[in-house]
Symmetry: C2
Subunit: 403 residues, 2 copies
């Protein structure tokens, strides 16, 4: 075999193993594996020890990893669940998206950051990653509480709102200066895309059922889903959105049929292979030397704002049910995970945000994810110890994406 | 997103969809999808219409695809089955490897081809791809016949022998001139590798069971299997073998635990995504303009030799059981599939074989795969129609790799 294959394979092997080793170490300490995989990239990457400098090819594999990651998130966001979600969850999600965005944008704008950077960092402050919350609630047998049901319902809607915000923000950043008419077009475009995918997409997939059964190809539904994931990713870039937005909505389109066709565990397997490359590469792009005094200050303030704004935003609609319920829901919606990090990486790649702002967002993602579990355990400390065995929802959550 | 991401995703989408469309069309005509995926590459590639010229990045993804392909083949080759395989299967496999190799090498060498090219093409004539046979036997409810059991048993051993032959041949080709001492070292090395993986590998994996259960990482067995697949691929290139040999033996190592850990369907899903890129790229490397008179002649003769040598080699040890049984087993072992094609591609990449020889091997693979099913149906035409429902083995075979 030619020499390049040898080094390429060695690179794949090294990244995969280091990412997984750090991920396992973090899991042992009850910290999400994702943060470990990123830290592996930070430590081994060119800005620190320089042991692994990812090649362009690994960079491309990381891009596919991001696409499959969002495809999985979409697959787990069932449009049918949206209809079942109560009004309370919708209110929690909407306020939980609006408050962090406005607070984040206002702070950064007043601080004198460019508009592009302010909107991008604010957008990264929006997306809740509910996987870690679901796991904690499952561990303490709290999945059947009213607060847990509201959190899980709101998270579905939050994912979709987060994608719409990203679509608009990324569209704005490519357009140079911000014009209101441009923004209006982007909002309408993103909303139309979302509505089409939520209401019409699943029906189109439903209609393919009979033709798919007639196909000779084994695994025809999986192959169709993968093709549509790639196709919508390409389509999204064509209308000026990030590829991952297309992948997310492709997942959404297939979510209702995912159990019937056994899509989730198989796409998850593809993810298990590809995602570590994404998180590792994300880590290698983080220059730890950027953490000087002012950047530390910004990182701490942005993290505080991210916590306060989400707890306030999600807690306010819950105040009618008491302070404790409001706090539980607010803290449950606090962790920012993969999506926030991907938003930051897209901003970095588009040169819409500085490496410093990228570092700030990764810090914010880490802090909110680290703080949520102990706070949740504290808030739910008075829960009646449940004696009955874990139910279906619980079992499902155990397999959730951050599991 | 930067422009290159856009074109890269478009390239992925185009290759995936075209490969799968051609694959489905071929399946509808009862021809293995693999040949359709290769034809898609031939037609759309730079040597014909030139619509898709795979980038280096897609070439690297194709390499990963080949590795996962052989990893899957290994996962389906259980070392425990080897112990159960009767002596008759061992004899069939051994003669079925020796006769095609010797006949192929002798013909090409007498024809005046360089030694490297002769051994490589001969090595490609060795590996049986039993998936297509298993599917035909399953369709005609013949999986419980003695002949079917001998074929399926022999195929397990054939895979391993084929890998050893490839290891030796590829090692020889890198060494310049052929020296007997070098060849002896390679044979010993390859045999030691194979024996280690068959007898000691699975025990090492068995010992990891308890530690794996203690791990916090979800899917720990899958991740360990993927890491070892990449690791042994790298290790194989380091000791002068092809990466896919390492991947095959990594699969073998985990094969006994594959059902318990549900590895096969999940690795298969990764394969569903990556393999089309491999077969498509394989097709783009085939220059159809090379099929001039002399190349056609060689292609037809090599194909005839491949058929005759396999039928003779595998049939001879069966002659004691009658001409019909010998013919059934011989024809059942006839199809050459993925492994032959991969051997040819490795030869091309090492500059050990010419583009003409590459074209000849692909032609041979196609012909043997196309002819086996109708011949098998004819030979098994007198089979008592079975009335009982398909059994476990049959259900398993339906899910087999060419399914």
């Amino acid at each position: 075999m030619p020499q390049h294959v040898d080094t390429f394979l060695l690179e794949l092997f090294a990244i995969f193993v280091w990412a997984k080793v750090f991920g396992e170490l973090f899991e042992q300490l009850y910290v999400p594996a994702v943060l470990g995989e990123i830290l592996a990239g930070v430590i081994l990457g060119p800005h620190a020890t320089g042991l692994v400098a990812p090649s362009d090819t690994v960079g491309s594999i990381a891009e596919i990893g991001a696409i499959f990651l969002l495809f999985t998130v979409g697959l787990e966001t069932r449009p049918q669940d949206l209809l079942r979600v109560g009004r309370q969850s919708l209110r929690v999600a909407a306020a939980g998206v609006a408050v962090p965005f406005l607070l984040g944008f206002t702070y950064l704008h007043l601080k004198g950051e460019p508009v592009h950077e302010s909107v991008f960092v604010a957008a990264a402050m929006v997306a809740t990653s509910v996987g870690i919350t679901a796991r904690v609630l499952s561990d303490i047998h709290a999945l059947n509480t009213r607060e847990a049901r509201i959190i899980l319902g709101a998270a579905v809607f939050d994912d979709i709102l987060g994608m719409i915000v990203l679509a608009v923000v990324a569209g704005l950043a490519t357009g140079g200066s911000i014009r209101w008419i441009h923004m209006l077009v982007l909002v309408v475009e993103a909303l139309a895309f979302a509505i089409f995918m939520i209401f019409i997409g699943p029906r189109l997939v439903g209609r393919m059922r009979t033709p798919l059964q007639r196909m000779s190809t084994h695994d025809a539904p999986l192959i169709l889903a993968l093709a549509i994931c790639l196709g919508l990713s390409v389509a999204a870039t064509r209308i000026g959105m990030a590829a991952i937005i297309g992948a997310f909505f492709a997942g959404l389109m297939f979510a209702d049929y995912s159990p019937e066709w056994n899509l989730q565990p198989r796409v998850h397997a593809i993810n298990e292979f590809l995602a570590p490359f994404f998180f590792f590469v994300m880590g290698t792009r983080l220059d730890i030397h950027l953490f000087t005094g002012p950047v530390w200050a910004t990182a701490v303030i942005v993290s505080l704002l991210a916590i306060v704004s989400k707890v306030l935003g999600c807690g306010l609609p819950m105040l009618g049910e008491g302070l404790s319920a409001a706090a539980k829901v607010g803290v449950g919606m606090m962790p920012r995970g993969e999506v926030a990090l991907i938003v930051a990486l897209i901003g970095l790649q588009m040169n819409a945000i500085s490496p410093q702002a990228y570092a700030v967002v990764i810090f914010m993602g880490g802090v909110t994810t680290l703080l949520a579990p102990p706070l949740l355990r504290y808030l739910f400390r008075n829960l009646e110890p449940e004696t009955r065995p874990p139910d279906r929802l619980e079992a499902e959550m155990r397999k959730s994406r951050l599991g």
